[in-house]
């Protein structure tokens, strides 16, 4: 893999917040003051349990939703200032693309594979010439390993793995610099999952595109990503090189997450589990650590002061009193 130039980030997420009003005086803090960088060509894994805000964060970064506050510095422009509705027609729409979770729900059932990919070329690249579009669609299909003779098929005539490939080809059509992948292999059988993951690794090396890989399959993140961002209830609790986060997790939540990965060798071993239910993300106490109450290490001070991320090792940051 090409060594990404880590000094100049491709995307700089700065103090990003996304709050939803859920009632009178009730604010749901889905994304709460989050900052991190993605270098060109880098693969960043975003992990956390359902409800932690990782999908909201990825939708805001993909500019499908507007942040409440904060900046999204993409190279030299702040994308957060453009309303999502307007950004859809912006000439930069193509630079950040998304591969959605369920290929069944995200492909138009009345479009053939060809139409799905060609639409992206027409709308986001402004390609008009039919011969040129055909050549490019076929090139993309070849890249993602979709046989060209399947391009005339509708989604219901394709297998799960083939639909995933169409979704990836569609996202790659406008030559994005950043690809957001939301659980791209969650719906696939292991045998197919392996081929799709290998395809993603190959495309990244070939095209130099950066990945934000949203997943709760930590094994997949470990294999595919350079760096991992761990979210818990709207906050980043740990961030660092993938290897370090998986082998020496420092935040108690990350430790529970890593301990929960199915492991045949852990048979009968008593492992640390995060007991209980997460706190409510509605009007959270700004002082208390969000993990307090479930945390096996929790002490009264955790209820009174929530720490910011601090560096515990090179490029490895953790928000915890005990890290």
């Amino acid at each position: 893999m090409n060594a990404p130039e880590r000094n100049i980030p491709l995307l700089r997420v700065q103090r990003l917040q996304k709050h939803f009003k859920v009632g009178r005086n009730a604010m749901l803090h889905a994304v709460d003051d989050i900052s991190f960088d993605i270098a060109p060509g880098e693969s960043v894994g975003l992990v956390g349990e359902s409800g932690c805000g990782k999908s909201t964060l990825s939708r805001v970064i993909a500019r499908l939703a507007d942040p409440t506050s904060g900046a999204l510095q993409f190279e030299d422009v702040d994308l957060a200032v453009h309303p999502a509705a307007k950004f859809a027609r912006d000439s930069r729409r193509g630079v950040i693309q998304m591969v959605f979770q369920d290929a069944n729900d995200s492909l138009n059932p009345r479009y053939t594979a060809f139409d799905t990919i060609a639409e992206s070329l027409r709308l986001l690249v402004g390609m008009k010439d039919a011969a040129q579009i055909k050549a490019r669609v076929e090139e993309l299909a070849t890249w993602v390993g979709l046989p060209v003779d399947l391009l005339s098929r509708y989604p219901h005539q394709l297998s799960g793995g083939q639909k995933a490939r169409v979704g990836i080809a569609r996202a790659l059509a406008p030559s994005p610099r950043l690809l957001i992948l939301d659980e791209p292999t969650a719906a696939l059988d292991v045998s197919v999952q392996a081929t799709v993951l290998q395809l993603l690794a190959e495309l990244r090396d070939k095209l130099g595109v950066a990945y934000l890989f949203v997943s709760h399959d930590l094994n997949v993140v470990r294999l595919l990503c350079d760096r991992v961002v761990v979210m818990y209830l709207g906050k980043v609790v740990e961030e660092g090189p993938a290897e370090a986060v998986f082998t020496t997790p420092r935040h108690p939540y990350t430790q529970a997450l890593v301990a929960a990965i199915p492991d045949p060798d852990a048979r009968g071993r008593k492992t640390v589990r995060a007991e209980g239910e997460p706190r409510s993300p509605i009007n959270p106490d700004p002082r208390a650590c969000r993990f307090h109450g479930r945390c096996p290490k929790g002490e009264p001070k955790c209820e009174l002061t929530m720490l910011d991320l601090k560096e515990v090792a090179p490029a490895h940051r953790v928000a915890c009193h005990f890290a």
């Binding site: 359902s50 297998s159 292991v190 094994n219 990965i261 048979r267």
Partner: protein
């Protein structure tokens, strides 16, 4: 086979083995559909001892859920069992009438279904749903009902059970709904639990907690458990034995650690190599070539894996396949092992 592998042999194999709680022998099941006969299960033989955890692992379409449904007699109307027997605690499951089955379902044999939210009644308090089971199968009446229902919630470690008794499913998280389903399934202390992908769609942390709970309750009560899953790593972590299914065949059965570390069937080996758990890098993952055969094909080869198999020989497509015992507890359905 090296002689060392025999060391793993189950102690039960020696001398006095008690009769299994569930014994399935040569079960074949097909679906008569408009587009042809789908041979969903063929010659499936599995047995389960009291207190044992058996993992049934396979890709989607391998027949693992069909097998579970057949055990409970809740198969689709198009399903037809063409061969085989299934005996549960002395009772012939396949010959039983609907009335007889209804007596054991929920009492002797319980099932945890895949999606916790859609398996619960959305407009009935969860406490009342547990009471329904107790009233029907344990003949609990009156004042005791509420107490017993709260007890059930307590046993699956639901915090604040008296308050959750009053909750509707939509007020609970996915993990909590799954616990309710487990509470329902265990309300009458069944001797066999069938769990069909009980943690699919749940977070890893919740998944681990739910599996810990199932295993603990199984040990505590000597309850036999059939865990149906596509996650080989999870099955190997929690189950005593693993059965690997492919296209309606059980291709390999054996002690979990033996199957994982010394797989004898080419498909099992491929399945292990394709999981992210065992790989050190993306490149080291080995996808399984090809896909499941069309089970409608009038002439399926004796080995349904042959088209995907790197060791295929002529005999795989012509001669009926043997089930080869590797040792007393480990067997494989493959010509290669017979050689």
């Amino acid at each position: 086979m090296s002689p060392e592998t025999i060391v793993h042999a189950d102690p039960r194999a020696a001398a006095n083995v008690p009769p299994p709680l569930l014994a399935v022998d040569g079960l074949s099941l097909e679906f008569r559909t408009r587009s042809g006969v789908v041979r969903a299960l063929e010659d499936v033989s599995l047995s389960l001892q009291k207190g044992e955890l058996l993992g049934v692992v396979g890709e989607s379409g391998s027949g693992k859920s069909v097998f579970a449904y057949a055990m409970l007699g809740i198969s689709d109307a198009a399903a037809k069992i063409t061969r085989g027997t299934a005996v549960f605690d002395g009772m012939d499951l396949l010959g039983a009438t609907e009335r007889e089955l209804r007596e054991i379902r929920g009492r002797e044999v319980s099932m945890i279904f895949q999606s916790p939210r859609t398996s619960l009644n959305p407009i009935r308090k969860v406490g009342h749903q547990i009471e329904d089971v107790l009233r029907r199968h344990a003949a609990v009446r009156g004042q005791d009902l509420r107490e017993r229902a709260i007890d059930c919630l307590k046993r699956v470690r639901i915090p604040d059970p008296a308050r959750r008794y009053e909750a509707y499913p939509f007020e609970l998280s996915g993990g909590m709904c799954q616990r309710i389903l487990i509470a329902l399934a265990l309300a009458c202390q069944p001797s066999l639990l069938i769990a069909d992908e009980p943690t699919t769609g749940l977070d890893v942390t919740t998944q681990a907690a739910i599996m810990d709970l199932i295993v603990e309750l199984a040990h505590e009560r000597q309850m036999a458990t059939l865990l149906i899953t596509h996650d080989l790593a999870m099955a190997a972590q929690y189950c005593d034995r693993i059965a690997v299914m492919h296209a309606g065949h059980v291709v390999e059965v054996g002690p979990a650690q033996v199957v994982l570390h010394q797989p004898q069937h080419p498909y099992t080996a491929r399945l292990i190599a394709s999981t992210p758990h065992t790989a050190d890098s993306i490149a080291a993952m080995q996808p399984i070539p090809g896909s499941l055969p069309d089970l409608r094909a009038a002439k399926l080869p004796p080995c349904r894996y042959s088209a995907r198999c790197e060791y295929r020989t002529e005999r795989c497509d012509t001669e009926a396949l043997p089930v080869v015992p590797i040792d007393a507890t480990h067997s494989v359905r493959c010509w290669r092992a017979a050689a």
